[in-house]
Amino acid sequence: MNESGIRQLVTFKIENDEFGVDILKVQEINRMMNITRIPNAPDFVEGVINLRGKIIPIVDLRKKLGFPAKEYDKSTRIIVVELEGIVLGFIVDSVSEVLRIPNSTIEPPPSIIKGIESEFIEGVGKLEDRLLILLELKKVFTISEHKSLEDLSMN
């Protein structure tokens, strides 16, 4: 939360919900690319892509947040973020806009939002006519994720 009390967010959609992530975490937004599947990887890991010579993992945010699977279409986007040195991308239905909202409009998460585990949520932004779910990316892709990946690879 910066001093001026204004936050800049990249907003995107999955199903009919609108989400926001801190713009400082976002490296770039790409159209759908050719994804190479990784055998034995967890379900929500779609595979890896070649991002200008770097290989980065891609997570399907739909699967991760428990939404039903959906075919990719021309509005599907990959949001590339950097979290504590690890670059990864996640797939969203579409990217909407860059928003500036005052901190005062952000409220702590209610215990359950439509089945999404509330630990993934940093807060809820109340806009004039809609709600914006602020994702805590660090928690969405937590260490336990690595663990589960490792476990899978071990077995």
Binding site: T36, P39, K54, I55, H146
Partner: protein, 601 residues
């Protein structure tokens, strides 16, 4: 030394102090030099250097010019070793020890009548040559410059031996050369090849290697575009030109890749230097008598590999001395030579470096090992009976044996060997063992020259393309169902009277088995041969290995990824890990069964 000043008691005292101090310094330095032979240690070099430096300073102050000159030359040589511009070789050690002895004699001279009587000229010359390894002998230069013929040189050298004079003096005396010519040559000799090497930050080399990697990818891509152009555009001079320039770039890229790779190579001596000392210490602590033979220390390997090889190598050597080689008494009883032999041989084989660690100790007791493996429930008797002797020996590398201390008494091996294997496989290497009971054991490590770029076979399995490292592949055969049999639920291929098990990669990787396989890639991992069914073979390509990144962690069976010419990511199959996985599966199953059985009883 001025005799008058020696009248003074004070001076005498100073000189006496100098004599005592110097003798002590020389004594310590001598021991240090000997220990340096076993292990290059910066601290030890520094202490030798300081000792010689002190002697040089004091002797020059007291006016003992011969001693100070000798110390000066020895210091020069040591300085180069200290700066790592020279490696401690046997010649250097010998020369330094000789210098120490001569210094000691000089001091004895000084002690008797304050006169330096030792002749140090040849030794000083030797030190100079060693400190300047690229410096050519003057005689050779004379011949090269066509001043004298080789025959004349022989005569001169003969004369040099008899008269103990400098070669330059003799040539001058014989009027074979003018003063001026000699002076020019001496200057030339001094400056020759001074700037032939530069030191470079490893980071910079890594950077270059990365860039070359990218260049290789670019080249692959260009190749693909060229092939597309050839296919789509009817013959035109543009396509011909493209073809030509692509080939040209391909050649240049390969050369560049090779030369940068070579720049990263470091001789194995860097690692082997530590071995004599290690073996000596081990012999002392386990009361063994072992003769160490090392060959091929000049074999070169990528820098990073040398570093990672350190621990596994030390582990294997420890095992050999501790568990392999018998005590003197045991050896005599067995009718073996009293002294055990441990030999380490390194050599190149194709694009690989092989390191064999051989000992003539008690070898692997196959029956004992079998018993232990069954006892521990790691495998069933039936399974073991199906294995060849070599396969059984290589069980020393499976985990589960290692934690048991007892096994080392039975088999003579097995302590932490699974760790050795894991480490070596991390380097894309292989390790296997061969042995004859009561006679010898040989552990072979096989490593690729470099990690970053490798040749690979691109194949299609399921619906995706995968890369199989070429150093795993021995041949490619067409799949003919007639030659495939099923043994105990596992498929095997009959290949020229040999039975080759087929690794079901599609199942291991949870890929839909399409049953469309047309070829079998025959791989050799260690001493195991196995086949992999593939749908299609795309071809052979140079691939740049990239990691899947921290987020994905280690996925067994995948050794990394690479980017192909069309920009698509391709996964590299890690066959050794897959078979160890297959083994692990079996082993884990057995272990569980054994446990259940135990509880049931």
């Amino acid at each position: 030394m001025n005799n008058e000043s020696l009248e003074h008691e004070e001076m005498k005292e100073i000189i006496n102090d100098f004599i005592i101090e110097s003798l002590e310094l020389i004594e310590n330095a001598t021991q240090d030099i000997i220990s340096m032979e076993a292990e290059q240690d910066d601290e030890i070099i520094n202490s030798i250097f300081r000792a010689v430096h002190t002697i040089k300073g004091t002797s020059s102050f007291l006016g003992f010019s011969v001693l100070s000159n000798l110390a000066h030359k020895a210091e020069d040589l040591l300085g180069l070793v200290r700066k790592k511009e020279l490696n401690m070789s046997k010649e250097i050690t010998d020369a330094l020890l000789e210098s120490m002895d001569t210094m000691k004699l000089l001091i004895e001279d000084i002690k008797t009548d304050y006169k330096e009587k030792q002749d140090t000229e040849q030794l000083v010359h030797k030190l100079e040559v060693l400190a300047n390894p690229d410096r050519k002998p003057l005689g050779e230069m004379f011949v090269e410059e066509k001043i004298i013929t080789e025959k004349e040189l022989e005569k001169v050298l003969e004369k040099q031996k008899q008269e103990n004079k400098k070669i330059g003096e003799i040539v001058l005396e014989e009027k074979l050369i003018t003063d001026k010519q000699l002076e020019n040559l001496l200057n030339k000799q001094r400056t020759k090849r001074e700037d032939q090497t530069i030191r470079i930050d490893v980071k910079k080399l890594d950077e270059m290697m990365n860039l070359v990697g990218e260049l290789v990818l670019g080249k692959n891509r260009l190749n693909m575009v060229k092939n597309m152009a050839k296919r789509d555009i009817s013959k035109s001079s543009v396509v011909d030109n493209l073809d030509e320039v692509t080939n040209y770039i391909e050649v240049i890229t390969n050369e560049l890749q090779l030369s940068i790779m070579k720049a990263r190579l470091v001789p194995l001596s860097k690692l082997f230097n530590k071995v004599p000392r290690l073996v000596r210490d081990l012999c002392n602590s386990f009361n063994k008598d072992v003769e160490l033979k090392i060959t091929g220390e000049e074999t070169e390997l990528d820098r990073t590999l040398i570093e990672s090889l350190h621990d596994p190598l030390i582990h294997i050597i420890r095992n050999s001395v501790d568990h392999g080689i018998e005590t003197r008494e045991e050896r005599i009883k067995k009718g073996k030579p009293e002294r055990g032999t441990l030999s380490i041989d390194a050599y190149n084989e194709g694009n690989n470096v092989v390191i064999d660690i051989f000992d003539d100790g008690k070898g692997i007791d196959i029956d004992g090992l079998k018993k232990k493996v069954i006892e521990k429930g790691l495998m069933s008797e039936n399974e073991i009976n199906d294995m060849t002797e070599k396969e059984i020996m290589n069980l020393i590398f499976i985990p589960g044996l290692s934690t048991a201390k007892k096994i080392s008494n039975v088999s003579g091996r097995g302590v932490g060997m699974d760790v050795v294997k894991t480490n070596i496989e991390k380097m894309n290497g292989q390790v296997y063992v061969d042995s004859v009971k009561n006679q010898w054991t040989r552990i072979s490590i096989r490593l690729p020259l470099t990690l970053a770029i490798m040749g690979a076979l691109i194949v299609e399995i399921g619906h995706e393309l995968y890369a199989i490292p070429l150093n795993n592949v021995i041949e490619l055969v067409k799949l003919n169902r007639e030659y495939i049999k099923t043994v105990d639920k596992n498929e095997v291929l009959m290949l020229r009277n040999e039975i080759v098990p087929i690794l079901d990669v599609a199942r291991i990787m949870s890929l839909s088995d399409s049953g469309k396989e047309k070829y079998i890639v025959i791989c050799k991992i260690g001493d195991k041969t196995l086949g992999i069914k593939v749908n299609a073979v795309v071809g052979q390509e140079e691939i740049v290995i990239k990691s899947l990144g921290e987020f994905m962690g280690n996925i067994k069976g995948i050794g990394g990824a690479s980017i192909r010419g069309d920009g698509k990511v391709i996964l590299i199959l890690d066959i050794p890990a897959m078979i160890s996985d297959r083994y692990m599966e079996k082993i884990n199953k057995r272990r569980e069964e054994a446990l259940e059985y135990k509880y049931a009883v």
